[in-house]
Structures are given as C-alpha cells and as structure tokens.
C-alpha cells in the first residue's frame, strides 16, 4: 500500500474527517474525535503503522490537543494522529495495548498535563517526584517556587 492508497482508504473509512487529512512528503495528519481515537489507532496499526514514534500534548488554553506520531517502516510514511480532549475531564483511551511503546510516553503526558489514559497498566508520574502537586506544562500551573522573569531581561 502506498500513501495514495492509504489516503483513499482513510477517506473511505472516515469520510467526515477526510478534508483534515493531508499527505505531503509522505507525512499525513489525521484529526479524530477523542471517542474514536482508539478505533482509528487500531485501524492504522492494522494497516501497517507498526511504530509509535511519540505521544505528546499541547495545552491550547481551552482544551488539550493530543498528538500521536505513528510510522510505518514498510510504507516509509508517518502520520500525526491528533485529537482534542476537554480540560475538566481530561481523559482518553490508552493505546498501550496496540503499541507497548506508549507506556512511558503516556506516563510522561500524564505527568506533565494530567491527562488520564484509560486502560493504562501503570499510570503514575515518570519524571517528577511522586508527591508533586499539579501538572507543570498546563498553562494555568502555579508554583510559588517559580521566579518569573522580569520585563527588563
């Protein structure tokens, strides 16, 4: 399967998302609803995307945008799968059962953003200490130990 066939396949599978799917230079971006993320990830893995490159998140202020980078060694293609979750109920299905590499990546996202991955086997902090309060990469994170940079620097 080449990247054009992949595009056709994905557009037939997710017709409402097809305008958001773009393929340039062998990379693509797929925006899915958070309830369908695990389903889409499972599809992609069955299509031959056998490598999970990274899992990360972006705090847009209103909600969190999760970014999954999946790659196929056979097709030499990679896709960014993105989804959005609300801030107050930040929760998403874990893809640890599809790619075991997601284990520590999801723990890091949980550590920094507080997004709960449902079905993760060992969801606890990975970088910060276990007794840390708050999630530092959230835009509204407050910590009295932080010294803010003054304007004149």
């Amino acid at each position: 399967m080449n990247i054009d066939e992949l595009r056709e396949h994905l557009c037939s599978t997710y017709p409402d998302l097809c305008p958001l799917f773009s393929v340039e230079y062998g990379d693509g971006m797929l925006m899915v609803d958070s309830s369908r993320l695990h389903e889409a990830a499972s599809d992609l893995r069955d299509l031959g995307f056998d490598r999970l490159g990274m899992v990360t998140a972006v705090d847009t202020g209103d909600e969190f945008e999760l970014v999954y980078r999946v790659q196929s060694r056979e097709m030499h293609a990679g896709i960014f799968v993105k989804t959005r979750v609300a801030r107050d109920v930040a929760s998403i299905a874990s893809v640890n059962d599809l790619w075991p590499a997601a284990n520590w990546q999801e723990r890091e996202v949980f550590d920094m953003f507080g997004i709960v991955f449902e079905g993760h086997p060992d969801l606890r902090r990975i970088l910060l200490t276990d007794d840390w309060v708050g999630y530092p990469l959230r835009k509204d994170y407050e910590d009295e130990r932080i010294i803010r940079r003054p304007d004149y620097i």
């Binding site: 970088l127 910060l128 200490t129 530092p136 910590d143 932080i146 010294i147 803010r148 940079r149 620097i153």
Partner: protein, 195 residues
C-alpha cells in the same frame, strides 16, 4: 579519623600541646591538600569538562586529584551540572556518605545559581548551596578545565588553614610550605607545588 580528632582535642587542652598540634596540623593539611580525591557529581554538560580534566591533556592526577566512583573514597564533591528537585536528595545523600573532612566545589552556572534555569522553571534547584556547604564556586557555562584546576588549587589554600581541632585556625606557612601558595612566578617560592 576519630583517633586524630581525639588526639587533637587532647593536645589543644594540654599546656604546650599547641606546638605539637601546629606541627600535626601542618602535616595533616599538607597531606590532605595534596590528595583531594574528587566525587564527580556530573549531572549535565559540565560533566564533559570534568571528564576532560581527568585525561591526559589536563591530567589532574598531577594535583593528586583523581575521580573516584565511590563517595566513601572522596574528599571533595564536584557538583558539575543542573540539579533538579528530584536529583537533590540523591546528591545530598552522596554528600553525606563522604567521610569528613569534605569539601564541595560548585562547577558551572547551574550549580552556582541555577544558571539559565533561574527564571520560569519549576524543577531546578537555584544553586547547590541551597542544601550543601559550597567552598569554591566556578562560573562558566561550562567552565574550562583550567577553571576547575584553579578551583582545586584554591581549595588547597583553604584546606591549609584548617585544623584538626574544630574552630582552631592555623597560620599559613608555619612549618611546611603550604600547598597551593605561593603561586608560580613568585621568586621567593619554596618548593611544595607541582613543579
């Protein structure tokens, strides 16, 4: 060094013991200053300079300062790198495992003050002196091995003023030439340095 401590404390109280104590201090400080074994606490890029210092170009062996993998062998802890809040308990614990007398060199801006991580950071300790008694600070990002060399030599001068009796200061250059001073180029120099 419990025996030496007891001996020093006893001599300090004995009439006339100060003369012997001064001689003993001179010998002890001379030997301590000449063998400052390093605990290489390298946590970031400054560790590259710290490693370079041990090899042939800079060759800290000639100062008697060699890195040891075990804190129980070491006299001076060289904190080279950024210390995060998660790392700080480990650093403190390694420091506590070092036998007395012990010294600390803060190498590089991160270990001195937090460096570029001073502002807007949630995880970095602003200077290792928040929890360790630092004797010598080296600025730089990272400092050259020559700067570390200078720190070792200055630490020697500080070691030379210590006495085995707590609270008692020793006059410099009393009996044995003090390690580290006078510096090279001083024509009245006694021997005792690295020449």
């Amino acid at each position: 060094m419990a025996f030496v401590d007891d001996l020093g404390a006893a001599l300090d109280k004995t009439p006339g013991g100060g003369i012997i104590l001064t001689s003993l201090d001179a010998v002890m400080d001379w030997s301590r200053g000449k063998s400052l074994w390093m605990m290489p606490m390298g946590t970031a890029c400054c560790a590259m300079e710290l490693i370079a210092a041990s090899f042939s170009r800079f060759d800290f062996d000639r100062h008697g300062s060699i890195p040891r993998p075990d804190p129980r062998h070491c006299d001076v802890m060289v904190v080279a790198g950024t210390i995060t809040r998660k790392m700080a308990p480990a650093v403190k614990r390694l420091y506590e495992q070092m036998p007395d007398p012990k010294w600390v060199i803060a190498m590089g801006n991160c270990a001195v003050s937090g460096g570029i991580f001073y502002y807007d950071t949630y995880s970095v300790i602003r200077g290792v002196d928040e929890f360790l008694p630092v004797d010598v600070y080296i600025s730089g990002c990272p400092p050259r091995p020559e700067a570390l060399q200078d720190a070792i030599l200055r630490l020697r001068e500080q070691v030379a003023t210590d006495s085995i009796v707590p609270g008692r200061d020793r006059q410099l250059n009393t009996i044995l030439p003090t390690p580290g001073s006078p510096r090279k180029g001083d024509s009245a120099a006694a021997d005792g340095d690295d020449s």
